[in-house]
């Protein structure tokens, strides 16, 4: 079974990669009970911060209409 060493901020653990065939060295993965269940999308990860910037304007413009 495909496995890999995953670094959790300084703790390294052998993690099963059977469910993330697309994962390659250097990717960030989400791990649950010893299995990686997804590769984290770095671009999407920034969305929460961009979103806040957008809603800053949205809230100013739209709140009154709601």
């Amino acid at each position: 079974m495909r496995a890999g060493r995953v670094d959790f901020g300084g703790i390294i653990k052998e993690i099963n990669l059977a469910f993330v065939p697309e994962a390659s060295v250097g990717d960030h993965v989400l791990v649950h009970v010893g299995f990686a269940i997804t590769v984290i999308d770095e671009t999407e990860a920034q969305r929460v911060f961009l979103y806040l910037r957008e809603i800053g304007e949205f809230v100013e413009n739209e709140a009154v209409k709601l």
């Binding site: 060493r5 959790f8 901020g9 300084g10 703790i11 390294i12 653990k13 052998e14 649950h32 009970v33």
Partner: protein
């Protein structure tokens, strides 16, 4: 190690004469008497603690250094200069002699570093399966040097809570060393004697009201115990409490709160507010407390209430650890 080594006969004498006494190298032990005859001036602090850590050897220490530093630290928390320790060993049949040698050497090293002498002891051997390799009891005697009583009843509202450094390393190091977790880490236990910084606080004339070492149950349990005994409330600032990244990561993985994780070389000091900055300054001169900081304050409030300002600035309650720390599943 065989049962005969605890049987009171020739084998036991050989164990003591060839392994234990030479390891501790103290003239008081070499008198080969039933007890140590000691002279101490003035008031003394007297404490005892038993050590059953598993595994007995872990990154950053072993049961020997733990047993010496733990009891030395308990004396320091009484505002005392540690002087003498006793060592009670309970050994499991089958324990390799080399493991025993290593633990004894480590006790001697820790005692020398803390300036304390190992002056009396006892050894028992129990059947295989009746102990977990080696259990150690250390009792300690120290001379009280604090000018005023140190303890929870001396804590006053307004006191600063000073934390001697980052938290959680001992608990995580021991956990990671246990089979089954499969961690690779460089985390070492913080196991160390804190005598020097504590004595330095007293020598500098800082009004130390209370001291508490952060062992099992961590910073949270120590704070709650003191708040309950003192009949006051404590507010901690979680954002100020240093937790190393790898320790924080291990806590996330296991579902632990770093505030509950064990330490063996950390303490909190309650000092008068006007002494807070100077106390931090004094502590920072010592390697074991180089990252000391003010972590919170004592307040009037419901007795025993400890709260803490978290990452988002919202207050939450802090309680003692409930039950045993269990890894959680998601």
């Amino acid at each position: 190690m065989q049962l005969a080594h605890g049987g009171g006969g020739r084998a036991m004498k050989q164990l003591i004469d060839l392994i234990i006494r030479p390891a501790f190298a103290d003239p008081e032990l070499d008198r080969c008497h039933d007890g140590a005859a000691l002279a101490v001036d003035g008031p003394v602090a007297f404490t005892t603690d038993s050590y059953v850590v598993r595994p007995i050897i872990f990154p950053g220490g072993d049961i020997g250094s733990l047993a010496v530093n733990g009891t030395v630290n308990d004396l320091a928390m009484c505002g005392a200069r540690p002087l003498y320790l006793s060592v009670g060993l309970i050994l499991e049949e089958g324990l390799p002699i080399d493991t025993l040698r290593r633990v004894l050497a480590s006790m001697h090293k820790a005692a020398s570093a803390a300036g304390v002498r190992l002056v009396t002891g006892d050894t028992k051997v129990v059947d295989h399966g009746k102990a977990d390799r080696i259990f150690v009891n250390t009792a300690g005697l120290g001379r009280i040097v604090a000018p005023t009583p140190i303890g929870p009843s001396s804590v006053r509202a307004g006191d600063a809570v000073i934390l001697s450094g980052d938290i959680g390393r001992h608990g995580i190091a021991v956990m990671a060393a246990r089979e089954g977790f499969g961690f690779e880490t460089t985390i070492e236990s913080d196991c160390a004697a804190v005598t020097n910084p504590v004595l330095a606080l007293l020598e500098e004339g800082i009004a130390v009201h209370c001291l508490r070492d952060l062992t099992r149950g961590g910073l949270a349990s120590a704070a709650v115990e003191i708040a309950e005994t003192a009949g006051l409330a404590i507010v901690l600032d979680e954002r100020a409490v240093p937790v190393r990244d790898d320790v924080a990561a291990a806590c996330e993985l296991l579902g632990f709160d770093p505030l509950h994780v064990a330490n063996e070389g950390r303490f909190i000091a309650f000092v008068a507010p006007e002494d807070a900055d100077r106390a931090v300054e004094v502590l920072r001169h010592h390697p074991v407390s180089a990252e000391a900081l003010v972590a919170g304050w004592v307040e009037h409030g419901p007795s025993g209430r400890v709260s803490c300002r978290g990452a988002l600035g919202v207050m939450r309650a802090i309680d003692m650890l409930s039950g045993e720390q269990l890894p959680r599943i998601c």
